[in-house]
Symmetry: C2
Subunit: 330 residues, 2 copies
């Protein structure tokens, strides 16, 4: 019998899904475009049909224990996607219920950064840790915070919006309508904006000066920095400075054992890790200095769907823990 | 039988203790000076002797279920006071163990802001809340954060240092050796510094201009503001602006149901609540706007020792909850 959890990661471009067993092995992976359909019903029709095909291939040997979904603005408490700016479906979508109605197995939904944190705890570098934080560096900056071994959801299910901490009041305009949010500086988009700003400020030659703003991206800045481009190197230094200060502040609030950097920008390696580590320690309160590990994510491939599927195993584990307690003390 | 927890609050000036029953009634309260003795042993000798006297007065009808201690730089995990800058005892003091050795009852220790948060949960305005935050506004700014019904201690037991979030890098010098910490702006000391700065900036007459820096305090600024003094009113406006922004950022991380303001400065009422509320909402991320309650502490008198004693009831409650679970599911 193949016992699996289905992990579904709803991204702005693609929806990726996979069948993951308890050991974190991905038995099958596939995807559909997220934004083809304006109506959520049509989108789900396509998604269900694709998943059902794969289920049929496995035959009766497959047991699906549950489904985990990572989605932008996902609310764990309600199983809803709420007002996700970068998706075509407006308002509040009761997605977990819609998926559960079709597959008839327990379905959990949370935002993508929380899914990444649970993935890190179940399959990645945070195994055995009770207090840690995952920062996802993509188009924006997301965060998943684990406290006492449990994800921090907060009162409304929206905790962990570290990317929307105001670090420069009156600063860069943010998609949320405010100004100076951390993610306007620290994210793939933030890197692009910083590179552009530094080109305006300095006179140094740079290969980036031949790229129009709309074609500029973090990958190009990364490549330029690796080639020794001063503007590009300074861009990462500035990004790390902003991130390091923000992490020192986040540590003062939640005192984690480790912070994991996850996502495209984290793959820049030393370019982002070195300045971040330096400025984090420089700004750290004495009692935390040299105590908090800054680490790359331990999830190597299929990270997003591993995280989503881990939601299921985590909930099961909570059930088991509870049963064990009862047995031991009854 | 009088079942009580002993609450001990170790302040910079006085150590106050009381015998508190489960309903939060204080049966007796007394105090000794904290800083009379340079040696911790002498200090404890005096404290034990005073507490023992009161125990003797009650006779055999008294059952002490435990002792809770709130102390600066108190570490819950280790039961220690660690490098407390404003106490005379240097290094790491295993205080909980020393107290437990004498009284032979379970003894718990945490920092004063955490004790305030637990007091708020057991006896105060946070009854029934699972996610909230207490900000203590005294000489400094402390914070106690409750998440999923449990205090957030973090990996090393030092979570909740909101007062040491850097809000103005390179700004005011802080006792921690860094610059720009929130508590250099938002605290009784912060109010004094702001008043001084505004007197330097503006030309308006103010009763505060006749007070030397060393005699200036938050109470005088409060009285002046109540009397319509513009410098004093602007001082509270600025303090609320800094606090409101910081709270909006803290909400983005932990998404609490409510934030309680506790301590001397919170007694300034509208003077501090109105600007704080205004700037908190103004800087709040959309999904949190008009959702988080800003409230005065619900602990009216004996707040510090109530909080310390609540540590004991909280631990007992956890035990009971656990037992109930076992019984229901066995």
């Amino acid at each position: 019998m193949n016992q699996v959890a289905i992990g579904i990661d709803i991204g702005g471009t693609n929806t990726v899904f996979g069948f993951i067993n308890r050991e974190g092995k991905c038995l099958v992976e596939d995807s559909i475009p997220t934004q083809k359909h304006g109506e959520i019903e049509k989108y789900l029709e396509e998604l269900f049909s694709e998943i059902d095909k794969h289920i049929a291939c496995f035959g009766p040997d497959l047991e699906i224990v549950g489904i985990g979904i990572g989605a932008p603005n996902g609310n764990f408490y309600n199983g809803t996607i709420e007002h996700a700016g970068n998706l075509r479906w407006d308002g509040v979508i009761p997605l977990a219920q819609m998926v559960e109605d079709h597959f008839k197995v327990p379905t959990f939904l949370t935002n993508d950064a929380n899914a990444a944190a649970i993935g890190e705890m179940i399959y990645g570098g945070a195994k055995g840790m009770k207090n840690f934080m995952v920062i996802t560096l993509g188009t924006g900056l997301g965060s998943g915070i684990v406290v006492n071994g449990e994800l921090l959801y907060g009162h409304d299910g929206f905790a962990g919006e570290v990317g929307h901490m105001l670090v420069r009041p009156g600063g860069r305009h943010c998609g949320c309508g405010r100004r100076g949010c951390l993610e306007t500086y620290v994210s793939a988009t933030g890197v692009k904006r910083t590179a552009q700003k530094l080109m305006a400020k300095y006179r140094e030659e740079s290969v980036l000066r031949d790229v129009p703003f709309n074609q500029l991206n973090a990958k190009l800045v990364n490549d330029a920095a690796t080639g020794g481009d001063k503007i590009a190197i300074e861009t990462f230094e500035y990004t790390g400075q902003m991130l390091g200060l923000a992490l020192a502040n986040a540590v003062a609030v939640t005192n984690p054992e480790a912070i994991f950097l996850f996502g495209g920008l984290a793959k820049a390696g030393d370019l982002i890790f070195k300045p971040t580590q330096h400025h984090m320690e420089e700004n750290m309160l004495n009692i935390f200095k040299n105590k908090v590990k800054l680490l790359p994510s331990g999830l190597k491939s299929n990270a997003a769907i591993l995280g989503a599927s881990a939601l299921v195993w985590k909930e099961l584990e909570n059930d088991e823990k509870f049963l064990n307690k009862t047995i031991n003390h009854a």
